[in-house]
Symmetry: C2
Subunit: 306 residues, 2 copies
């Protein structure tokens, strides 16, 4: 694209949704140029939302991080899947005299606190070394009839007891069953270690439950719809979705009719995109973004005259 084309493209959107890890930062460090680019977008009059599938943090923790790394923005600009879980239960009119069983961490329970929804205690639920299938059949785990919903997010303390309770509560009559997201693994470069994502926990609970959850995070349309409902006037065609992971970020954009930009600073590469472009599988071709850039900050030079 010529600089002129880039400027025309930037003028074609007024709302930006951007993924965080792999786009804005990697771990504790900002991707060089990303903070400046985000601030520049705001100067150009664009509203920037941070959209992340991470369910382990309350929005306040993200606010601290975006401030510290120089991205700026308000608490309202942050849309995480812990927040989405609370928002979803609110929107479907969850009976607040009921409780939520949470497979997850304080990110989720703090967001539930904010909307006045109660939950069973979270944290490690180890099984005793002597527990066996025989003992569990003889002494069933008590299932609290006050529970009306199960929320599954990332839970590093996932255990047999949690899978059992999640599946049992998801099968109570009328129970809601919600997953924050279904990311299979976290990207880990330079090691043989594969770190399981929320999708592994969701798969365990939903398999035992014999029931599929409502999935809230990218690429589910709910993530964009909640932004639309809470900030009226946002037009999909004038919204840009930026991400590093095609099957969540870019697909969210495609699912919602947004413009899309893939950056090469995280999970997926330009080479991967080219392979999808050539694929005969329409689902793979759908993962191809409208535009690609190695890293977000590379845009800065192209729009300095705007």
């Amino acid at each position: 694209m010529t600089d002129q084309q880039v400027r025309e493209w930037v003028s074609s959107f007024d709302t930006v949704l951007t993924d965080c890890d792999g786009v804005l930062w990697v771990g504790a460090d900002p991707v060089p140029g990303s903070p400046e680019l985000v601030q520049r977008m705001r100067q150009l009059g664009k509203r920037v939302f941070y959209v992340t599938n991470n369910s382990t943090k309350h929005r306040r923790e993200y606010k601290t991080k975006v401030d510290k790394l120089g991205f700026g923005g308000d608490l309202d600009d942050i849309i995480g899947t812990a927040y989405l879980a609370a928002a979803y239960l609110e929107e479907v009119g969850f009976d607040k005299s009921k409780l939520v069983y949470v497979v997850g961490s304080t990110g989720i329970t703090q967001e539930l606190d904010d909307v006045g929804i109660k939950y069973l205690p979270i944290g490690p639920e180890p099984v005793s070394d002597t527990l066996t299938l025989d003992t569990i059949k003889l002494a069933p785990v008590p299932i609290d009839p006050r529970v009306g919903a199960v929320v599954v997010g990332f839970d590093i303390h996932i255990s047999f007891a949690k899978i059992l309770k999640g599946a049992s509560y998801a099968n109570l009559p009328g129970a809601l069953f919600v997953a924050t997201n279904t990311d299979e693994q976290f990207p880990m470069k330079g090691t043989d270690q594969i770190v399981p994502g929320t999708g592994a926990m969701v798969a365990a609970v939903s398999t035992a439950a014999g029931r599929q959850p409502v999935v809230l995070g990218k690429p589910s349309k709910f993530m964009f719809e909640i932004v639309q409902r809470r900030f009226p006037g946002i037009q999909p065609a004038r919204t840009l979705m930026i991400g590093d992971r095609a099957n969540t970020d870019i697909l969210l954009g495609k699912n919602c009719g947004l413009q899309t930009l893939l950056v090469g600073s995280g999970v997926h590469t330009l080479e991967q995109t080219r392979a999808w472009e050539a694929s005969e599988d329409p689902e793979e071709r759908r993962q191809v973004a409208d535009h690609y850039i190695d890293k977000l900050g590379d845009l800065l030079d192209r729009i300095k005259d705007m």
Copy 2:
């Protein structure tokens, strides 16, 4: 069926594969009449194999149980999925200088011992209360390059560490990835408790791994094929598969061209079968057994004159 038809039917098979829990016993108690029926089948010259998806016990433990409850039979007549895992690794020529990573219990490791295959230690692998995604990225879990296969069976100590290791080892170059079975849950009557089955553990590891395992237990044909290979001369059309669960037991029979008998003393009922019979989904109709009986022992009276 008339008594004459029942006798003709019994004459039409000379090998019997029978599921255990829900057919022969429920928990610690034999289903009334089942021991006598199994013994009667042997008197009539039929070879009886016990086939179970349970991966938590070595065949010796089953031998003790069938003896104690009056079913009889030899160690060789017992085909469990822990045994299948060892048999599978043997059959595909697993390099015995390599190790197996086992998500499972001593049922599996004792069967591996029998064939001289080594494995990493099993047992609880809790994660520390302070482990977070950030710390695990900074200090990756060591992945032992000697591992050449992952076997996932029932593991009541399933944990984040085990899912991580299972997924990581399943992604080493050339690694085998085997699941004993994929039963979603254990039947539990009279309680709201849903007890997760091996399928929940397999779903967690395979989701994180981004890879589907080879599944050995019912309804996978491997379970019958191993019987055929180890006991030459068994003819599928002259073999009866007895079970209480249509989607494992009866489907195994259908997948292998066996005769099938559903008993009502376990998971699935006659009513359920009638619903499948009327279904438009061919996969559901495939779960309908050739014959149905409330409990195995009810056959005794019908064949007393044979």
